[in-house]
Symmetry: C2
Subunit: 271 residues, 2 copies
């Protein structure tokens, strides 16, 4: 524990962390906030990511293992009053642990290589909750990496980090990539690039998904623009069997990513 309890929300340390809720400051400091025991625990599995940890007295007792791991990793731990934690946390009921973390994203060339078999591309995804959920789902489906294009939300947005439920720390993530560059790299790396869009001629059930595949997911409201659809190898829609007009973005992504995961595994078993 470094020093006494932080009780002043105007102290320089609290203010320095607090401003990381804004993208401009995150980009300047190349740092972001990870909130809650699950995210902090995952962040600590990566070397040098956790810069400092804030913990309430209660959280320190409840999550002594996490505090010990932070200390062992050389990250200073600051005890924070409930008021300070409420100032830093972006949730209604803060869980008492919050880490300042260094950016974890990697260059596109590291995220996407010839070994990749399943990649998710978030193009024009603007809702951070949706983006984080797709990241979590891509991780669950065994994706090799996730690419955020330059028109998508910031993966370090607090809501995105929370919705990812730790997955931001699990698999290589690239961000700020122009979509054309992402598609080019995916194709060069031997992946078939499929756009998930309601405008697709073929449905998920009609496409062979056993080969290495990248899925491009678009905007919540208006899908993918024509110029992106043209870049991809094929536009595929999730079949609608009932009367719903569409699926929401995160559920459509889940259906696509799991269909790929399943086909690739069945393909592997048969092959």
């Amino acid at each position: 524990m470094a020093g006494s309890e932080l009780t002043n929300i105007k102290s320089p340390r609290v203010k320095a962390a607090r401003r990381l809720t804004k993208r401009a400051f995150r980009d300047r400091d190349r740092s972001f906030l990870a909130e809650g025991p699950q995210a902090v625990r995952e962040a600590l599995t990566l070397d040098g990511v956790v810069v400092e940890l804030f913990a309430t007295a209660e959280a320190e007792l409840r999550h002594a293992d996490i505090v010990a791991a932070a200390t062992a990793a050389g990250a200073p731990v600051f005890r924070a009053s409930g008021e300070v934690m409420a100032e830093l946390a972006q949730t209604v009921t803060p869980q008492g642990l919050l880490a300042v973390c260094r950016f974890v994203h990697v260059p596109l060339e590291t995220a996407v290589t010839a070994d990749a078999r399943l990649v998710a591309v978030l193009a024009h995804v603007r809702d951070p909750g949706n983006a984080g959920t797709v990241l979590r789902t891509a991780d669950a489906a065994g994706a090799d990496s996730v690419v955020f294009t330059d028109a998508s939300v910031d993966p370090y947005n607090g809501k995105c980090v929370r919705a990812s439920a730790g997955s931001l720390f699990h698999l290589p993530v690239s961000t700020g990539v122009p979509v054309s560059r992402a598609v080019e790299r995916l194709k060069e790396s031997g992946l078939r690039v499929l756009a998930a869009d309601g405008a697709g001629d073929r449905t998920l059930d009609d496409v062979d998904l056993s080969a290495p595949t990248a899925w491009v997911f678009g905007n919540e409201a208006w899908g993918l623009p024509e110029e992106i659809l043209r870049l991809t190898d094929e536009v595929v829609r999730v079949p609608i069997y009932g009367r719903a007009e569409s699926l929401n973005l995160a559920t459509a992504a889940a259906v696509c990513l799991y269909a790929s995961a399943r086909s690739q595994r069945i393909g592997s078993v048969l092959g």
Copy 2:
């Protein structure tokens, strides 16, 4: 258009609609609010569901077809000022149309019959956004009906209605059903009852889903309690191929429901 524009948020008509944001009043009046052009349009496809419609002057022009349909259906249309609409609507940017609707749910015996091939049961789902998303996904996957148990959120909660994106008006929904009664009815109707839970011994890939199936989905945080798992025919988990601990409820439900839809259709083709 009935009468002049409503500008007073304290007028009895506005207050009577506004209180439907609370469950106790919804249950008393057996009515709820449906917000936005999509929901109102879908509500108007059902006879006698729309009781009255509130529309801003702008929405009246933009959605003249919807206003005309409401009038033709005999529902009074009230022009509402922006302030009144903001008072009634539960969204940050109201879309200018809001209908008071009669309850649309049906008895369990109507929702679940021997013809049913795919049913979603929401047991202990507490987040209305998740519940509405599962309802929308069940509709998209061609489910015959959706059952909300008595321990789940109210399907008429504003967030649930919005997240369902009109699906609340598309397929039979039952609500307030004890889970044991739901499972009994499903089994009597010839459906196999599968609990979706991370504790499952078998994964989605290992289970034959071509027969009529009901999926039981549990709580966002803690899944399904042991006493519900015991009632079902089998506990099945969505396989996690990567490092994520779990999927969120709505994405897990999407993967399960679409796996069933796909198996049943491939089964039909082969049969």
